[in-house]
């Protein structure tokens, strides 16, 4: 199973500090990394090597925790422990900070762009999730402050095609939000994890959501609309979400990130036991009760905790990972024969 994940390259992306997060641009040509050194770095290929094309410094006073590209690929948002979110505009290899979003009371933990490109979401240790609207003049306005979680919110992610938002929290739950009559509301709470939920990922269709937790499990949730065939109860016109699969016993420490490949459906995890794992759904399994098999397990993928895994959106099998050791690694994943 070690052969299913082959190392292509390793770069010391954030020396003497930790690398917290990675994001591929929509074209799959650039990788943004961010870390404890308060910088964002942009990586691209030059022949067979990965080189640093830009360094975004002077944007934040503290750790940059997450980065996110806009759907058009021209903007990059960075979320920081300094309580702000910077919006950078790309001009060839240069990035200029065009706006700084303020308002959260303390560390911003995550930022995500909606598929339309008109909305942005941020979340923070202040327990809130903020939705921002951006207009044609690159003006940002906060349109909603959602206080549904009872603790630190660790991650936000948008549905791949709908204006539907999901958040993961230290309060052990996942919450879902949508716009109802000009206001954003929390319409579902997913309970089941026994500790902090660190990250989320929608499957390519958007019908399922994967969550990973400090409880060392990955859970797969499915949306059921009112009057669904399976007879899952819904309250009123709100969809219902049910946990349809739990992957337990595979990870020996906290799972910090989960990534669902939009090209192949493969699920990758980043774990505090320094390993990277990949799971694939068994083709013959019941869609309402799917089973997933472990198709790759690489212990010591990094010398310390793996914080993030990210599938390249265009190149099948290309996976990037980063770690507390400050390194970014690139991997080629090949589904093993006979599985």
């Amino acid at each position: 199973m070690k052969d299913s994940l082959v190392l292509l390259a390793r770069v010391p992306a954030h020396p003497d500090s930790r690398c917290w997060f990675l994001a591929w641009n929509p074209a799959g040509t650039l990788l943004a990394s961010c870390g404890g050194d308060r910088r964002v770095r942009i990586w691209g290929t030059e022949g067979d090597s990965w080189i640093c094309k830009s360094v975004l410094s002077e944007g934040h006073q503290r750790t940059v925790r997450k980065v996110a590209w806009s759907p058009c690929g021209n903007y990059l948002a960075s979320a920081s422990f300094d309580a702000t979110t910077c919006i950078w505009k790309k001009n060839q290899d240069d990035f200029e900070c065009v706006t700084t979003l303020e308002g959260h009371e303390n560390e911003v933990k995550s930022v995500a762009w909606a598929p339309s490109g008109n909305l942005l979401a941020t979340c923070s240790r202040d327990k809130s999730v903020w939705v921002w609207e951006v207009d044609e003049e690159d003006e940002y306005e906060c349109v909603s402050v959602l206080n549904s979680h009872t603790q630190d919110v660790k991650h936000v992610v948008w549905h791949p095609s709908q204006e539907l938002l999901a958040s993961a929290s230290y309060d052990d739950t996942v919450k879902l939000y949508r716009e109802e009559e000009d206001d954003w509301v929390c319409y579902a709470t997913l309970e089941g994890h026994e500790s902090t939920v660190w990250s989320l990922a929608f499957d390519p269709s958007g019908q399922r959501l994967a969550s990973c937790s400090d409880d060392r499990t990955v859970r797969i949730w499915r949306q059921y609309l009112p009057n669904n065939e399976q007879g899952v109860a819904c309250s009123g016109s709100d969809p219902s979400w049910k946990c349809i699969c739990t992957l337990s016993g595979f990870h020996s420490r906290t799972i910090y990130d989960v990534a669902w490949c939009q090209l192949t459906g493969a699920l990758a995890t980043a774990c505090g036991d320094d390993a990277i794992r990949v799971f694939e759904e068994d083709p013959s399994s019941d869609p309402q009760q799917p089973t997933f098999s472990l198709t790759a397990h690489l212990p010591q993928a990094h010398s310390q905790d793996v914080n993030c895994v990210a599938w390249n959106p265009k190149e099948q099998g290309l996976l990037a990972s980063c770690s507390d050791d400050g390194e970014v690694a690139f991997w080629k994943y090949q589904r093993p024969e006979g599985i």
């Binding site: 199973m1 930790r18 404890g36 503290r62 750790t63 925790r65 422990f81 303390n106 560390e107 933990k109 240790r125 630190d152 660790k154 230290y170 500790s195 902090t196 400090d214 595979f250 020996s252 420490r253 505090g272 036991d273 068994d282 083709p283 013959s284 399994s285 089973t291 098999s293 472990l294 198709t295 397990h297 212990p299 010398s303 905790d305 507390d324 006979g338 599985i339």
Partner: protein
Amino acid sequence: MERVSGLLSWTRSRVLWLSGLFERGTARQPRIMEEKALEVYDLIRTIRDPEKPNTLEELEVVTESSVEVQEVNEEDYLVIIRFTPTVPHCSLATLIGLCLRVKLQRCLPFKHKLEIYISEGTHSTEEDINKQINDKERVAAAMENPNLREIVEQCVLEPD
């Protein structure tokens, strides 16, 4: 036929996973490492209490039996510390947890994962405190707070 191959592939991956477990040694009881535990204790006993002019050892916040080291894998250890705060004060307990983590992160020479807990039954909100001090994101952010950082630095400073 598809169902059978699905089942076979599932079984095969479970067998592979189990054999992977055996290779990693997690199927057997991890070895307790006493020498390593003493090495850890030597580093933490001199940490000063945030409020009193005494070390954690003097105040019996930590004792030799507070430290447990398990060998997870070759050259890979799990260090577990259970400490007893002097007073049931929330912020003080999290501060001690922070000091323990920072001292070991900086000074412990062998590769390790660290878990810190308040000894059972010594605090009303121990679950809350344990969760906080073991959340590395919360710890990292706390250490970027200049006031907190200053207090921690004073507590972990090696005696002359």
